[in-house]
Amino acid sequence: MTTLRFLIGRLVALAITLLLASMAIYGAMFLAPGSPLAFLTRGRTMSAEELDAIAAQYHLNEPVWRQYLYWLGGVLHGDLGTSILQKAPVTSLIGERAVNTLWLVACASILILTVGLTVGIIAGLKPGWLDTSLMLTATAAMAVPAFVAAIILILIFAVNLQLFPVFGQGEGFSDRIYHLVLPSVALALASVAYVARLTRAAIRSEAASDHVQTAVSRGLPQRTIVSRHILRNAMIPIVTVAGLTIGGLIAGAVVIEQVFQLNGLGSYLVEAVGSKDFPVVQAISLILVASFIVLNTVVDLLYAALDPRIVVGRQHS
């Protein structure tokens, strides 16, 4: 059954990509000037025993590929390494932070999928002044980086109008949402604009296509043509773009968390870089990259679900 083969193929590709990515992340450590030990412990004063302990913990006297396997083995068992600064397992340090980042990315994603798609669909289906003004706004919004949007939003809504808090992530469901309004809008703004533009383009492209001509020539009502032929077909490229855009939020979250002092993986990453705590940097990078790769695979699978040409394949008779 070709669907099963396709699924397995994608999952295998996923595993390979994850593996390659983990190698790259682990291997980055060896790019540093000097020995890995010196790199891991720079800037700290440590006794000889402590240095030996670290060397043993990271198997630094063994060949590189073995070191990688130890690390990988640990990761697959849930051990993401130990923070050199805190001397505690990284997993215990990032639990709550991961949740905070997830909240932020989820809220921003919802904005992208609702506002972005709606604006794009409206602009796509109704040419005229509304379309033109929406697209102009979108083009302008795309030029505003997330952190600039953040400070503008803070200035208007937090400082001047005092409608929203500036810092922190809040406690409890509604308080969290309240604290996440400004950050998620800032994070999502450029992406909403991008998705809106692409949605509009996809819809215009479908509306001009030959198969829509066929539908029109059959006297089908407008509603039917728009939903069953234009939107349905446009969804294929739109889903792909939306998925990739949401993936892009992962990197943007790093900066937004800094601005709004949200205690998430991104801000912890920056902190760890500053405090030269490389195992933490490694672990968080791995999580972010792995999330991105998994998301891409999900998008691939969605695409295949929407477009029968991918899985069903060519079988001429």
């Binding site: 990509t17 390659l20 990515a21 790259a24 992340i25 980055a28 450590m29 790019l31 540093a32 000037p33 790199f39 796509g124 289906l125 109704k126 040419p127 005229g128 033109t132 083009t139 302008a140 795309m142 030029a143 505003v144 980086p145 997330a146 952190f147 600039v148 400070i151 503008i152 803070i154 200035l155 400082v159 500036v166 215009r204 509306a207 029109v216 407008q222 043509i225 728009v226 993936g247 892009g248 992962i250 990197a251 943007g252 790093v254 900066v255 800094q258 601005v259 990453l269 920056v270 760890a272 870089v273 500053g274 490389f278 940097v281 990078s285 972010l288 990259v289 991105f292 790769i293 891409n296």
Partner: protein
């Protein structure tokens, strides 16, 4: 009126923007973008020679001072002249992305051309490799690079360039593949021209438009990412400064009622990126028109 009604309504003539005829070349918006960017570059390059106020001169009496004669934009949180800082910071903000674009375009083009031309297993391997590279967002790579090599623009720029390479490579590869399948290439091969020759002398000029469009858009992304990196403190280090640093430095001021530093720097970024995006869009449209 919806798009479908437009199609079947008759006999009134309907003016439709897609039908009004393609703009040739850069168009009005394109030239405005070029003008804006040129002005910015000129100001940041030649500005310090004409406007000789010292950007690093701290003057604690003048913190957050309003505009005055000789200091048209006022002062920042440490009493330094804002305009001077914007001009000097602009040099870094506008120049840094150039390095990123050059490296990523060269790498991307190399990968793309070789993959599209040689084809076969080489192409499959390179494409897989490019796909894996997509998993690493540029900013993340830059942060890891800073973690390893320390803060500063050099390592970060190279890392960003590597992060952008798959994006550029994919665009160029599809363009080269499209071009390569055109009959004139088979004609050239039959005449005995080698791959490198055909690539450089024939394919490259035809694909140049798309490469330029991709490079321009990359410049915009690089500008944003480098500014973001500086914003979180991992980019340019003091005493150097750029617009990203200025936005970050201006936050305390913003929270206490003096938003000028952050806003002006932010505005500079928006204008620069906006112009670059417009230009990139025009280049992309021009490449399509061919």
């Amino acid at each position: 009126m919806s798009i479908l009604e437009v199609q079947s309504a008759s006999p009134e003539p309907i003016e439709y923007d897609d039908v009004k005829g393609q703009r040739k070349g850069l168009g009005l918006t394109g030239w405005i973008a070029v003008a804006v960017l040129s002005v910015m570059v000129l100001i940041t390059v030649f500005g310090p020679m004409l406007y000789t106020v010292d950007p690093d001169n701290i003057s604690l009496m003048d913190t957050f001072g309003p505009p005055q004669p000789g200091h048209p934009l006022g002062f920042d949180g440490q009493g330094r002249d804002l305009l001077a800082r914007l001009v000097v910071g602009g040099r870094t903000s506008l120049l840094g992305p150039v390095i990123v674009v050059i490296i990523s375009t060269l790498l991307g083009a190399l990968l793309a051309f070789s993959a599209a031309w040689i084809g076969g297993t080489y192409d499959t391997v390179v494409s897989r490799f490019i796909d894996t590279m997509f998993a690493f967002p540029g900013l993340l790579l830059a942060i890891i690079a800073v973690a390893i090599f320390g803060p500063g623009l050099m390592a970060a720029s190279i890392a960003l360039a590597i992060g952008y390479t798959p994006f550029v490579a994919r665009i160029i590869r599809s363009a080269v593949l499209r071009e390569r399948n055109l009959p004139y290439v088979s004609a050239l091969t039959v005449q005995g021209l080698g791959g490198l020759n055909i690539s450089i002398r024939h394919l490259l000029p035809n694909v140049a438009g798309i490469i330029i469009a991709a490079a321009t858009l990359s410049y915009g992304y690089a500008l944003i990412d480098l500014a973001a990196l500086s914003f979180i403190g991992l980019g340019v280090q003091p005493p150097q400064s750029d617009w990203g640093v200025m936005v970050a430095e201006g936050i305390p001021g913003l929270l206490s009622g003096y938003p000028q530093e952050s806003l002006y720097a932010g505005l500079c970024i928006i204008i620069a990126v906006g112009a670059v995006n417009l230009l990139g869009d025009r280049f992309a449209a021009m490449a399509e028109e061919e």
